[in-house]
Subunit: 502 residues, 4 copies
């Protein structure tokens, strides 16, 4: 997927700044899916990707293989738009297929970055779909280019393909693992060769990947909700640091990295995963309700009702309401039609205070003391608009609660978050935040409270159970590109001299 | 809008049967919006239509006027897709604009049916947007064609334009009211001439229309949520049988029909209107919660929790939970990405039991006795799938409750419902329905219970307070085309000999 | 087709001025074709239209009928672009079809003007394709609108449909002839009803129309080259003022107008018709060679060689070379790839003297005294560029000859020519023209010489044998709209208040 | 460009067989153009490519550079379609640009093969446009893939980029020449780096390339007609085996290969180059007329007139007519609207004998003894149709003459010709050909006659002055891939496992 480093994305992504200004959500970059050895493999992949649409709304692609040749279709847009035509799916022949949904640049300019990516190797082809982000991508790319590799994209995923192509191992699974040994960061990979499907998860299991079965055929997916969509049964998570090879002989497991403890990403639980998914053995819906309950314990308020910021705040609000005994009401209505693109308003229209995504339910809010529950607060730009909207609809008091701790540090493992200087909590005290957000009181779930909701007694500071650097600043891996950049050695390095393309 | 008469739609609408088989919702055909005398009129109209998207997802259009000339843009697709390009909105010049969102046939074939429609009159032009359905449309069209009028569409709305064009009155507002005197049925109209905007509502107020103000400028909209979207203030409903003329001198009200009591359509309250809208003075959210409470009184169940069929069943489920004291849980997750079109599954895939729109939240349902709340049951095809899905996810018992009475009769006023032979309740006893829906118990809100939730002591059978023929068979107006058809006089009549078009 | 009146086209045609500035050709507006009672009627129509592409390059359309219903496809673009997809042709069902190629406004805005046009009548539908121009169109349109007709296009052809729709005659052929009796101007019409095809030509036969047979099926076409394309045999011209009805009983001829002498348009011979066509019994190629011979007699020159301005000047140049005994050489090469649209050059590029359509063949021109033969000179803007180009390529002398007389008056019968003030010959003496065109000598074929080339001893001034007003100012019909306009009565009249459309 | 080897093109080009069956022309694969150091470089390139459109009608592309970054636009279609939008050209920033027109596969599947191609090198980027064909492409590709290079296209041009990327030389011009030393075949290359433009021609000068100047800026182009188009002056041909480096210091010439005598391709003179071009110092128009004169000497006929098969046969026919004293007449009219794609006729339509490209001019042919002049005869499929058409139009006798010798052998240097088994002359005697072509007599220009028309006394069999293997079987270079294939070593090799792509 595309780098999140701002200096690179500014360079390569002319539309990086076109994100809807109303939208202050962190973005997870990508969902992956694969199915091996079954009729209608591509159609099943379309369905699986559909269930993973929330992990990447901007582009999607499928690669299939009929045992001899590979077929790909990649396009900007939602799965339901790109893969609706039967002839498109029909072109994706074969009984194995992998798919990818992703965030990033809209527009035709960067279709070359859309996954899955494909390479002809001397002993066959390989298609690759990647969720996550490599932290030594620039380092590897620079080295490969100096050795004569020609890159077609600005995606870090292509580095993996070049590493595979240059591996001197004989078997393709060994070439694949050779390549993985060079990369750092968070990744969940699904790959397709002429006769096998491969799944892999980074040594810490930062990004999720699960194994399912549909009849006798194996399925790989970012979340269990994709298994439910197609009626597949859940087998188990791919383990952290595990590589699985799926072919006609079944599933073979490899552990090519030294074994460490897992540290899955907490944001999957807080925001990204679908509420009906089970991630690393935990129900997202259940965990979120428990975050809400814990939040009610930590930050109660004297109020009339509990109102979620829909949709992501709903389970925590239900938990908060249950714990506090206050009524739960839909005081904010979400307009689900708000798409990725929308009319750029003139200043006159901006002044109208347009509410594209959230509308107040006046009858509920009028004259009430309201506890507003959101899953997290990033820059705070959306939060303040919602607080104002709720107050304008007649709420007497607004008590804002975040079901996760203050976000203080950026992510480099596949979550698109703003730079530190734009993170509200990184730059303000609690009271400053309360004033900026124009609420009567403000409360964040504590880090230990979050670990409690996750089923632990608290954070094990010596060996943290989860990836939580956005709250703590403790990054679980080296950040090679960051370090090089900090030393100024990389100054002026750029990803590609090709500014735009067909 | 397009007729719902099946013999006509089969003739004119090759895609009538392509509706997602997963989708058993009645459809409301159209939302209308207008704003007069303001900068950025078209951009404001885009925003207003966006808030009315739920009233018509298949096509949309805008007509604007700069005081001299008219400009239109009409296209299949969502507002957020059709009107995202700034240049499209820029082409819609002028300080007045009207907009329309509608259901019906996708595809290029029938763009000529997309509204607003326009006609050059000898003393200026007129653009018209229409929500509703005329019950004497075929009668009028046949007459007009025999007199030499050339129709370009198969829409009943074009009849109104021809009646206006042929009126012998001098002033355009009089020609407009002349035309209205010929038509029967349910309608909310917004029209634009070179120097005025006109709003009109049928004599019974079947379809809704509200008046708002944005600064000094008047706004017309199907629902108040469109006023909220743009920050306009609610003034009042257009009254039943009222025509309002809005020009530089302000608003002038006409009552061209004899005065009767209003009979607004109950389905606006049950399903169509957005929960944050106020229709004819009543909060939709509040009314729906009260339907849920009344339902709990009429049809309680011994169960563990209350689960809504999202999204439309949520308010009633909250009401039911409050009244019954049972916990409210999100046992079903709705995938909002499901669009209008989707991959046509092969039989193999169909057998997988794909869940495109609703997914079970296993953690909530497993081992539980569940009360499932839906807003209404039409054919029952969706309901049975949901009951099965909930049971497959581990629910021990499933008690299905409909927050509206049994639907027994089709609609002819702008709601797209199946024929009587396909309406579940019209053809089965309660027990038969329970067996077909595979639930442990089944209950419908009573007609009187519904009127109670609406704030009355019950239905006034002599002078019913609402349009409710789908429950009672009592149609509030003549059904001229139906009568003629029943007499066989219309046999072989067809809407247009032009099968397809550019 | 669209009016050529400048005040109207400026109003309704935003792209009227986008014609390639390199292009100084008059334009013929439209070719028509029809075939009745044969398999693959639409595919045959595509081929016939392809042969008539030179009569209209900007848009094309087909209407077909299967005896019950009608099907239309209309689009901007060349026949070879619009009708290449088999599925498009497959949608045009039935054993009868009519087609139309036309000039005019590119862009999506005016697809509503593209022909054939269609109307539902009370006893069936009718589709109409029209080549020519009505001179009382505004008069009729104004009257029809005042009586309540709603126009969908700004095309004069739609007037004919409304006249048919309002006719009180019983039989459709009578309604058709009723309508024709109201219109003035030049026209060749091909129409399709459910069981017949109709052809018609204006009383003077200004625009051409021929009858062919393909097996037992009748064909109608603007030119014989369309018959050759499909292997049909030429039967005869439709006579001036004749209406032919073609149905299962064969061909029936009507003469609904009083009989006058024919006056076909000379410009069909000079420029529009394809060289391999036979128009009104005369070979275009042969007539053009004879114009060249007559030109050599009237305006010889002391030169080394004869060079045509390709392609239209080639036959006359061959005739001139034969008569003069000078060698014929391709001193100018035409680039046939020059399309309708092309890059708008910056001033810097303009200064390069770009030659998009014509390139000099230096080897031929260098050091030579050249006679340059063009078919006609309209504004002279292209001619001067070509003279300069030939001179820049090394020609010692350039003697320009026009194979038609000086063009002094605009056309109102379907030829798109500039206004009088832009016609070179209307505003300059011969010597002024020579200087403006920068040639060493200049000669035009005389009017009598042209009539001689046409096989007459000269022009019969009392009863001219041809329509020749562009040379003589003698218009063969009333110009009602022009007269009304001249009287100022029409001031401010405009075609439509709808500025743009979907 | 794409390989012409049938086993490869069948594999990689699903649309190889979709060429219009009416079209029996050999195809030249590609025209190249470049301009360095001038304002509007991309717009000038569009114009230059427009003049080279005849060298490749199926796709086109431009790469530009602003001294820092590169910009590319590549698309299927004609230059006049792809590069008409000002915004497309505006995206191609910078004062240097190269362009490419090419034949081959329509459709979106192979846009990755459209040129110019681009590679990021470690010291900057390089864009490359290539006319010609490498005869050791498969050999090199196989080797590069085995070393870990990832190919994105199936084009032989990409091999050159990988060779450049892997060169260990320091300066980019040296890396470029390193790469050229590995390749065999015919090529004319134009490349763009951040601060220079490079031109190169193969050691024998098989493919043409000329140098021009526009003010102080250098231009490179396949033919001089591209210089004429933009008003540039001709400087000289790039010599065979020459590499020219053009930068701010001017033009530097390299001769990296051992010096041999030039052997330019004769087919450029016979058919490919535009008649107004000067190739290697000879006027195409003049050479073709002389071929016609020589043909009249070698194969006279007792006939009434000389008729060219337009457009390519016209100069030879003029020469033949001059030499023979017979009149030259346009007995066949070419329809220039025939595009690349066209309706697939049903059998019924096929039987009509449709004439899409050529139409008979009956008036000229009827009753006459006709000498028909074509530039060459490949499979003979078009020729026999034309002979039949001429006869059907009434010609008494048809004497067919080819202005080039019999074509006996396929080409591997960039001309798309059928396999040997489909070449008429390779498989039939003269009399068999006459019978197959259904003509009264048949004559081909002799090889020595062709060399005479080229200005020599005859072919120097020891050191042939031109590439003429299609007539003689003497290939001027090794055919490495052919040899390997013949040895069976390459059996099963295939270009790419990726069957289709986005």
């Amino acid at each position: 997927m595309l780098l999140s480093q701002p200096e690179l994305s500014a360079l390569t992504d002319p539309q990086a700044s076109q994100r809807d200004s109303d939208d202050d959500r962190p973005r997870l970059e990508c969902g992956v899916f694969g199915v091996h050895g079954i009729d209608d493999a591509s159609a099943i992949t379309v369905l699986g990707m559909h269930a993973l649409q929330h992990r990447g709304e901007e582009a999607c692609g499928i690669a299939s293989c009929d045992g001899k040749r590979f077929y790909t279709e990649r396009e900007h847009g939602l799965v339901g738009d790109v893969f609706t035509q039967p002839e498109v799916v029909a072109r994706l022949k074969g009984r194995s297929a992998i798919g990818h949904t992703r965030y990033s640049t809209a527009g035709g300019a960067f279709i070359r970055n859309v996954q899955p990516m494909f390479a002809d190797l001397d002993d066959g082809g390989i298609a690759l779909a990647h969720n996550g982000n490599l932290t030594n991508f620039m380092h590897l790319r620079t080295k490969l280019v100096s050795e004569g590799s020609i890159f077609q994209s600005t995606s870090d995923s292509e580095v993996i393909l070049h590493l595979i192509a240059r591996s001197r191992s004989i078997k393709i699974i060994d070439r694949f693992m050779d390549a993985l040994r060079h990369i750092e960061g968070g990744f969940a990979l699904v790959a397709l060769t002429r006769n096998m499907m491969i799944g892999a998860r980074d040594p810490l299991g930062i990004r999720p990947l699960v194994i399912g079965k549909l009849g006798d055929s194996y399925v790989l997916a970012s979340e269990t909700c994709a298994l439910d969509m197609i009626g597949a049964t859940f087998v188990r998570d791919v383990e952290h640091g595990e590589v699985v090879q799926i072919d006609e002989t079944g599933l073979t497991s490899f552990k090519p990295f030294g074994v460490k403890a897992a540290r899955p990403c907490l944001f999957e639980y807080i925001y990204f995963a679908r509420p009906d998914s089970i991630v690393n053995g935990k129900s997202i819906y259940d965990v979120r309700k428990r975050m809400g309950r814990q939040l009610a314990i930590e930050h109660p308020a004297d109020a009339d009702l509990v109102v979620p910021v829909p949709d992501s705040g709903v389970p925590a609000a239900l938990g908060f309401a249950e714990q506090s005994g206050l009524p739960f009401e839909l005081g904010i209505i979400r307009n689900h039609y708000v798409g990725r693109t929308f009319i750029q308003p003139t200043q006159g229209i901006r002044d109208l205070g347009v509410r594209k995504k959230h509308a107040p339910n006046r009858i509920v809010l009028e004259g009430k003391k309201v506890i507003l529950i959101d899953d997290s607060i990033v820059r705070g730009t959306t939060s303040v608009k919602i607080v104002r909207m709720v107050r304008a609809a007649g709420a007497r008091e607004v008590h804002l609660r975040s079901a996760s701790p203050p976000i203080m540090w950026p992510d480099f493992y596949g979550i698109d978050m703003p730079d530190r200087e734009k993170l509200l909590a990184a730059n303000h005290t609690l009271e400053e935040m309360r004033q900026k957000l124009e609420c009567d009181s403000l409360g964040f779930l504590s880090v230990d409270g979050l670990y409690k909701a996750m089923g632990h007694s608290g954070r094990d500071n010596a060996n943290p159970q989860f990836t939580d650097h956005y709250f703590t600043g403790e990054y679980p891996t080296r950040l090679t590109d960051r370090e090089v950049e900090a030393e100024g050695e990389n100054a002026g390095a750029q990803l590609s001299l090709l500014a735009n393309s067909y």
